[in-house]
Amino acid sequence: MNAVKLRIAAALTAILVLSVSGSQRVSAQEHIDNLISRFIDSNGGTISYRSVVKRNPSTHEIEKRVVELSVSNKELGRQLIAAFEAEKGTADGMEINRVSPSYYTATLVWSSPRRIYELSVSGSWVSFSAVTNYGQ
């Protein structure tokens, strides 16, 4: 009986750990998404922003979303670098290059659902791209 209770407790713990780590993944991506969304909403100036969704031709549901932002903004660059560094621990794959204090590139990949975030900061120039595949 004790062995059974132990097994149940272990299973519940595993479920709790997985759900917490899953929520951490969601919050990591949400953190970066929120940074971008707030910047877009507050800043009208010289930015280049693309948000492209691709839908399933049969169901019309969104299958893929591609977001690209290019802007000259030092503060946003610093915020995004900090966000990428904070969230890289939850990524399933990554590549980070810190060539110099003013040149930073990073790619973070989460596999389920498949999300890919890329950041390139060169001086005050920021280039951010995100691909989200829904339903994978």
Partner: protein, 177 residues
């Protein structure tokens, strides 16, 4: 007038263009009635037999004099319009016109279907360029292509990074074992 292997091509061409005289046409009919014609012209034997039968009936009805100088064949009244050659030409022209019209209609309808499909596939997309917002899918066509190409490049890189991570994990597992 004698038709030979060398000049038959020219006379057949002129016949089909309606530029042969009565004498030349009679020569052509006689030529194709002959059993010993080159194999490459065999396929026209039945056609000229048909033309000859039609021309003979019209000749019997109108009794046209033989024209020796090379002049286009002229007929009067309904007989001219009912000539098998002219009817055949009109049928070919009508068929070509119908096919062209059908092809144009298909092309136009498929273009509009393609546009509707593209618009619905990317419904919800938008761009902001220098403070200007645009969500017209047709206007954004180029921007959509760029975004999709960028996504393909990123997905290739992501697959590579995930494969590298898997390999590193496998190597670590081997070390621990």
């Amino acid at each position: 007038m004698k038709l030979t292997r060398e000049n038959i091509t020219e006379y057949v061409g002129r016949f089909l263009d309606g530029r042969t005289s009565c004498a030349e046409e009679q020569a052509l009919y006689e030529y194709f009635r002959n059993e010993n014609i080159p194999d490459e012209w065999n396929y026209l034997r039945d056609a000229f037999a048909y033309f000859e039968s039609g021309m003979r009936e019209e000749d019997a009805a109108e009794s046209l004099p033989e024209v020796t100088s090379p002049q286009p064949l002229r007929r009067s009244g309904m007989a001219a319009w009912c000539s098998p050659r002219i009817v055949a030409r009109w049928c070919v022209a009508a068929s070509a016109t119908i096919m062209a019209a059908a092809g144009t209609w298909l092309a136009v309808s498929s273009d509009s279907n393609a546009t509707d499909l593209a618009t619905s596939l990317y419904d919800g997309s938008y761009v902001i360029l220098n403070g200007e917002y645009c969500n017209d899918i047709e206007t954004m066509d180029y921007q959509i292509d760029i975004a999709m190409e960028r996504a393909a490049i990123m997905e290739t890189k992501a697959a590579r990074l995930l494969a590298m991570t898997d390999k590193q994990q496998q190597n670590q597992t081997k070390q621990y074992n």
